[in-house]
């Protein structure tokens, strides 16, 4: 029985005594418990040591980019939720930004604030799932439930904001769908007051746990040069010590008005760019998001939350590329308009896709258990890879 669609070269080795050993080919996924959605890795292993892990993607391909060409500018927003359903706000935001850039629409100030508030809440939301499931993949189940508990509050907040808990469909071309509900900002402040100590508690619970750190440090080290060569983005890139954040280096929306730090990996427990650095960068980014949220809520201006956009929105012919810092890094939207009510072409560039192409490179000579840590530390989200 072969692994369909994959010809893995099985290597036979003979040691001095004429004893022939053969590599084992393992098919990890698509229904493996820790491949985060439907990923598949074809693993060539010698016992517990992997020679190679070849990612096999495409199980979650839903032709989202093609759908954009058929449903029109406004109609595509709900579909963008599904591009990365763990952090749907960013995809909403990316599409809205692209359409606004093509149509030359000025977004009201309050709408921009609403967007950034929603984005940063969503970043916490996504990072909580990432660090939680990372702990679970390493074998500690409890941190996961604690992260999910906090995430549940965020889900409640999002539900109140836009009626959905996962696929938000909050942003519109020209602004956001609804203004912040009355009393909602107080709840966000309340959440932040509660959440910031919880991050410390999370650090005490798991981050610096000896076993946990031992599993992550010096595993799958990515040097800054490699990270740039392989086009890693977001926390994965910053984990390797490259300080690059679209919010700061190519600012959009109201980010220039906000003050925040860009945490980078420092190799504090082991080597720069190991799994632990990528993990700890996410923990620190959550704190930064809290900081941004507090600033936004303090400076929140009054005014309309959506610009006047015609129902049959027809941006002039042309193309544009917008980028924003999603929870998984630099997300790029290349949209071509031919002046009709339907986009001519849409191409999404996502962080997970860059990361998964790196797994094959970094997974050489690791243990099988390390592959799980690598997948988790890259924060791979299958829908974002396949779209």
């Amino acid at each position: 029985m072969g692994l369909t669609g994959f010809e893995v070269e099985v290597q036979r080795q003979t040691d001095g005594g004429g004893f022939v050993t053969e590599d084992m080919t393992l098919s990890m996924g698509p229904q493996h418990p820790s491949t985060h959605g439907v990923l598949r890795f074809v693993v060539r292993a010698d016992g517990e040591v992997m020679k190679e892990a070849i990612p096999d993607i495409g199980y979650l391909h839903r032709s989202i980019e093609k759908i954009a060409e058929k449903v029109g500018w406004h109609g595509f927003i709900p579909y963008t939720d599904r591009v990365d359903y763990v952090a749907a706000m960013f995809c909403n935001h990316g599409w809205a930004m692209a359409a606004e850039k093509l149509g030359g629409i000025e977004v009201p100030k309050r709408a921009e604030y609403c967007r950034v508030i929603a984005d940063e809440l969503c970043r916490i939301h996504s990072h909580l799932l990432s660090v939680g499931s990372m702990a679970m993949d390493i074998g500690a189940f409890t941190p996961f439930t604690h992260a999910i508990r906090e995430r549940e509050y965020l889900n409640d907040l999002f539900e109140e904001l836009c009626g959905a808990r996962l696929t938000f469909h909050y942003m519109r071309i020209g602004g956001v769908g609804w203004d912040l509900p009355p009393g909602w900002t107080d709840k966000v402040i309340h959440f932040l007051d509660r959440f910031e100590p919880i991050v410390d508690e999370y650090d005490r619970l798991i981050s610096y746990n000896k076993i946990y750190a031992e599993r992550l440090v010096n595993v799958a080290v990515i040097t800054p040069e490699e990270a740039v060569d392989f086009n890693l983005v977001g926390p994965n890139l910053r984990g390797s010590g490259v300080s690059y954040d679209v919010r700061r280096d190519d600012p959009y929306s109201i980010y220039p008005e906000l003050e925040f730090d860009v945490p980078i990996g420092r190799g504090e427990m082991g080597t720069l760019g190991d799994c632990f650095d990528r993990y700890i960068v996410r923990m620190r980014e959550m704190r930064e998001s809290c900081r941004i949220l507090r600033q936004c809520l303090r400076q929140l201006p009054d005014g309309p939350v959506i610009a006047r956009v015609p129902r049959t929105f027809k941006p002039p012919a042309g193309d544009c590329y917008v980028r924003l810092e999603s929870a998984r890094g630099d997300m790029g939207w290349y949209v071509v308009s031919d002046g009709t009510a339907f986009p001519y072409r849409c191409k999404i560039r996502t962080g997970s896709f860059a990361a998964i192409s790196m797994t094959q490179h970094v997974s050489r000579d690791l243990m099988i258990a390390d592959l799980i840590a690598v997948i988790a530390s890259f924060d791979l989200v299958a829908p974002e890879i396949d779209r």
Binding site: G47, E48, M136, I138, E152, E159, E160, K187, M367
Partner: protein
């Protein structure tokens, strides 16, 4: 020292008082008594303890993970373990086509045999033991090693690569950790001068400072080495590599379903109790109670059983607590820990205890008190910390949710 009537004398008493029919050779009476008691132990204690431990684990884990745990079947969800047992028995017993049928079917029974057989030498009370073997502790170490055979069989016969990896990991792990575990038993055997479980307990007393745990610094360390090694032998976190669900799907049990899967897990949860019972017997004074109660054998045995059960079950709760707190170590780290740290430490303990016995044949009282004090301080600090966290969690509970709808939906 008080007279402890053994099971033999009990049987003698029954025969003399006419409760048991005379005219049958005494060894048959003995055998019958052992079988009956063994049956009572297996069906009245071993299987429920394994089942109830699953419920305890799920409740404790629920609390640790800030959720509720099973609460639907019976009061506090107590009957959940029975419901799960019935569910598993009613499920289809699937044998994969490519599996090695006979081996695949036999594996769970080997595992459960290794686990149940260890109960034969566990001293529940002064008179409650199936067989007080003169090689008791050695026997338990030997039969629990049967588990690895079963797990290896399951891993191989499933004809699944994940199962195979789990089985191999398990074999490597259990065989390796047998060594520090065995070496940690030796200091106690040296001190007690016997391998019999009852003998080891009788050599200790009811008061903590007479326990072997506090006898000398080496036994103190040996206790922890034994506990860690037992966790590894019992496939418990942080050593649950053989069934590492996030790596190997379900390890050796991947292809099992229904009753056979249940048998594996019964052995796992029951083994927790065996771990506790061994540690209690060797280091914590077993069933020793401060009163002789010579005239009330039933009361005495009941008290002793209570004491023994409480001590050994404390280990079960501790193991559960550890499981839901710690991550899993990697297979090479697991081996490194065993061979580079635990085995040398255990060897030093063994030699150290022997030297100690030569230097201080009567023991050294200040050292005992110092060790006891250290343990009490550590436990007090731990309890204080836990109490603080529980208070902290209570404060936060009112803010469980921001959304009034969600609050209304969430179960009591």
């Amino acid at each position: 020292m008080t007279e402890f009537p053994s099971m033999e004398s009990l049987v003698h008493g029954l025969v003399e008082s006419g409760v048991a029919p005379a005219g049958i050779p005494m060894w048959m009476h003995q055998l019958l008594a052992m079988l009956i008691f063994g049956g009572i132990v297996v069906f009245g204690f071993v299987l429920p303890i394994a089942g109830i431990t699953t419920w305890v684990e799920r409740r404790v884990m629920g609390r640790i993970q800030s959720r509720i745990g099973p609460n639907r079947v019976g009061p506090l969800g107590f009957l959940q373990w029975l419901a799960d047992g019935v569910k598993n028995m009613l499920k289809e017993d699937i044998v994969p086509t490519a599996a090695d049928g006979p081996l695949f079917r036999a594996a769970p029974y080997v595992v459960i045999t290794g686990f149940v057989a260890s109960f034969a030498a566990i001293p529940f009370a002064g008179n409650l033991i199936i067989a007080d073997l003169n090689v008791g502790i050695l026997y338990i170490t030997a039969v629990t090693a049967l588990v690895v055979v079963g797990i290896l069989m399951a891993g191989w016969a499933s004809n699944n690569k994940w199962s195979l990896l789990g089985g191999i990991r398990s074999a490597a792990q259990i065989v390796s950790y047998e060594i520090p575990a065995g070496l940690s038993i030796f200091p106690v055997v040296l001190l007690a001068g016997t391998l019999s479980m009852q003998g080891i307990i009788r050599a200790q007393g009811a008061a903590p400072w007479t326990w072997y745990l506090f006898d000398n610094p080496f036994t103190f360390i040996a206790f922890f080495v034994l506990f860690v090694s037992s966790l590894a032998e019992g496939n418990r976190t942080p050593f649950d590599l053989p069934e590492a669900e996030s790596e190997l799907v379900a390890g050796f049990a991947t292809e099992y379903s229904g009753m056979r899967n249940l048998l594996f897990f019964m052995a796992e949860w029951g083994n927790l109790y065996v771990i506790g019972a061994i540690a209690t017997t060797l280091f914590l004074g077993g069933w020793q109670i401060p009163w002789a109660l010579d005239d009330h054998p039933v009361l005495r045995n009941a008290l002793q059983f209570g004491v023994f059960f409480t001590k050994s079950y404390a280990f079960v709760v501790l193991a559960i607590w550890l499981r839901w707190t710690l991550p899993r170590i990697r297979v090479d780290q697991m081996m490194e820990m065993c061979w580079k740290y635990l085995v040398p430490i255990a060897l030093v303990n063994f030699l150290g205890t022997a030297t100690w016995m030569v230097l201080f044949p009567q023991g050294l009282a200040p050292v005992r008190w110092l060790l006891l004090l250290a343990a009490v301080v550590a436990i007090a600090a731990f309890v204080r910390r836990v109490a603080f966290h529980i208070r902290y969690a209570r404060l936060e509970r009112r803010h469980l949710s921001f959304n009034p709808l969600a609050t209304a939906r969430s179960p009591g």
